[in-house]
């Protein structure tokens, strides 16, 4: 059996490992555009912040490929897939007799996502960065010295972590966001305002509604011109406007693509023998009950692991993905999961409890008697318990009030 995995992010790595657990002989080829030892992408913001050195990003040993008898093809991007000939092609003009096509029996597309590009003049100036991979952060670190003012575009997770990292580095950070509070995709308004308050208390400047029209500077960025006519001084710009699945090479007439690559419960695409996992894959969201791309680390781990098992012939079903996130900002911990802003529908009930003095907030969203969403600000120790109730769609028999208390615990779900 010949396995080809496109992508050496966590989904690809997990898939290779689970294939090896079942099939010790089959040939595995991993094609990836990053040349680093497998590393933890969500941790790159910690490097920017200065909390950990770059070396600590690695989550597998340097001998990873060798140990699992994997053929690594790194620093390459796949250009297209020949579905009929069952081949993956990396470069149309081979140089020096290097192999440019790889035959497969089972193929995994785990290419992840790329930063969503923005439109503005002067994007080619120095010190303007996207923040997606280890290479981006290494470049940023080199340009931090001497800078004082930073501009962060986007109040999503990436923009947010970038802002936090730069504030910890002593930068004066201005964040441009569309909605009135950061993390609007993850959190509801009340929770978002608590987060915003904490950030502003530590010196973050937030501008709502404005967008950048153009950047100017002499080689390196110095000023940003905004759509509202104002001009901002900046020594570094970080763009965090979300991500888009990397699937430009996928033949859409043969593999079904929606926003991501559509997969079935075994992570297999519409084309037999081709699987997809991670940020590039689209499957039903457990809480939303609709196809969704949940581009988050824990789902990439799950999907990669299960895709590997299915590829190696062990049929394992994937229940569905679930959006969730946990972040610690200064003294505030935030956890969110599932549907946080339910639609206007009598089937949904929302209960919440807020204590602004203690910075405590908890909101639970139910659909009939099943928990489908939560927002927690502080006291997040028991969050996993609630997340697992959402994941398992367990009908809740106890009162919601009990679950809102900070001391809610496992025992309260047990019946004896």
């Amino acid at each position: 059996m010949k396995y080809v995995i496109i992508g050496n992010g966590i989904a690809g790595i997990q898939a290779a490992e689970s294939i090896r657990q079942i099939d010790s002989r089959g040939g595995i080829t991993i094609i990836g555009d990053e040349t680093f030892t497998p590393y933890c992408r969500p941790m790159i913001s910690l490097v920017l912040e200065g909390a950990i050195p770059t070396e600590k990003l690695a989550i597998r040993g340097a001998d990873f490929y060798e140990k699992l008898n994997i053929e690594p093809v790194l620093g390459k991007r796949v250009t297209h897939i020949d579905v009929d000939a069952r081949q993956v092609i990396i470069d149309d003009t081979p140089k020096g007799g290097k192999k440019n096509h790889f035959s497969y029996d089972k193929l995994l597309i785990a290419t992840g996502a790329d930063a969503r590009p923005i439109k503005a003049e002067g994007l080619s100036l120095g010190n303007i960065f996207y923040m997606r991979g280890q290479a981006h952060v290494c470049d940023m670190l080199e340009s931090l010295s001497g800078g004082k003012k930073a501009l962060v575009l986007g109040g999503g997770l990436v923009g947010f972590k970038a802002a936090y990292g730069l504030m910890k580095r002593g930068f004066e950070v201005t964040m441009l966001i569309k909605s009135g509070y950061p993390l609007s995709m993850q959190i509801d308004e009340a929770g978002g305002k608590l987060v915003l308050k904490e950030l502003v208390r530590h010196g973050l400047k937030v501008m709502v509604g404005a967008e950048v029209k153009a950047f100017e500077g002499n080689g390196r960025v110095r000023e940003a011109y905004l759509s509202d006519g104002s001009v901002l001084q900046c020594d570094i710009v970080i763009i965090g406007k979300g991500v888009l699945p990397s699937l430009s090479f996928v033949p859409r007439d043969q593999v079904r693509v929606d926003l991501g690559i559509v997969v079935d419960q075994h992570l297999e695409t519409s084309s037999s023998g081709i699987f997809a996992a991670g940020d590039v894959a689209e499957y039903v969201d457990i809480a939303r009950k609709t196809p969704w791309v949940n581009a988050i680390w824990p789902e990439a781990v799950n999907q990669g692991r299960l895709a590997g098992m299915n590829m190696a012939g062990r049929k394992v079903a994937y229940k569905g993905s679930l959006s969730r996130n946990v972040i610690r900002i200064f003294d505030v911990d935030v956890m969110t999961c599932g549907v946080v802003e339910p639609p206007d529908d009598p089937g949904y009930q929302v209960i919440s409890k807020i204590d602004p003095h203690k910075n405590f907030y908890r909101k639970l969203v139910f659909r009939n008697d099943v928990l489908v969403g939560l927002v927690m600000v502080n006291d997040i120790d028991q969050g996993g318990l609630l997340v697992s109730l959402i994941q398992s769609e367990t009908p809740i028999k106890i009162s919601g009030e009990t679950m809102l208390k900070p001391n809610f615990n496992y025992k309260q779900l047990l019946k004896f």
């Binding site: 941790m43 600590k56 680390w297 824990p298 799950n302 969050g383 318990l385 997340v387 025992k411």
Partner: protein, 199 residues
């Protein structure tokens, strides 16, 4: 392989397991000096209060596969195969709380610990007292439990006992009401002695 088995119906909520656990994970290993230590040793077993005020010793199940291990960003959570125990490497832990979001039982806490780098908050959870086990001792929570809500036994023994209990509870004999049970002059110990002598 012996494991800690929890019998929730026997727990009286005395929290002695918590004290014993914190003491076992202190520098001195002695309660009276442990309370003066910095950082203050904290328990890894947590007696939660139920809906009616009843107790429940909630501890790590050392799941396999472990959701916390799969969710851990820096790869700080690993399995000790010898003791079938899920462990956290405090040097690698970045206190991101990804494991808090993954643990379906809510048994992970975040605080300073004597095993972690000084002044650093890390994820802390039950380690099955593997240091004690290596010395031939049972885990501290089991040793401290007075109501046998925590026992240290092999899974097969525990399952067998539970199966027997269930079997007894459904047998017709147990349901029979004895009309005149009478009384016995000898207690169980005396009877056993007499039986031994007869043999």
């Amino acid at each position: 392989m012996k494991k800690v088995v929890v019998h929730p119906e026997r727990c009286v909520g005395c929290m002695q397991c918590m004290v014993a656990c914190a003491t076992a994970h202190s520098r001195s290993g002695n309660l009276f000096s442990a309370i003066c230590e910095v950082p203050l040793p904290k328990p890894r077993v947590h007696v939660g209060v139920g809906l009616y005020g009843e107790g429940f010793p909630n501890r790590c199940r050392h799941c396999d596969p472990a959701p916390c291990m799969l969710a851990c960003l820096p790869g700080a959570i690993y399995r000790n195969a010898e003791f079938e125990t899920v462990m956290i490497d405090s040097d690698k832990c970045i206190n991101c709380a990804s494991c808090a979001m993954a643990c379906p039982f809510g048994v992970i806490r975040y605080h300073e610990d004597m095993h972690a780098p000084p002044k650093q908050v890390v994820a802390v959870k039950c380690d099955n007292c593997i240091d004690r086990q290596a010395k031939g001792l049972v885990p501290a929570c089991v040793e401290a439990c007075k109501s046998s809500a925590l026992t240290f036994e092999t899974t097969s023994d525990a399952l067998k006992r539970k199966t027997n209990e269930v079997a007894r509870s459904v047998s017709i004999e147990t349901g029979k009401i004895v009309v005149a049970p009478g009384f016995n002059l000898l207690n169980a110990a005396k009877k056993a002695q007499i039986n031994l002598k007869a043999m």
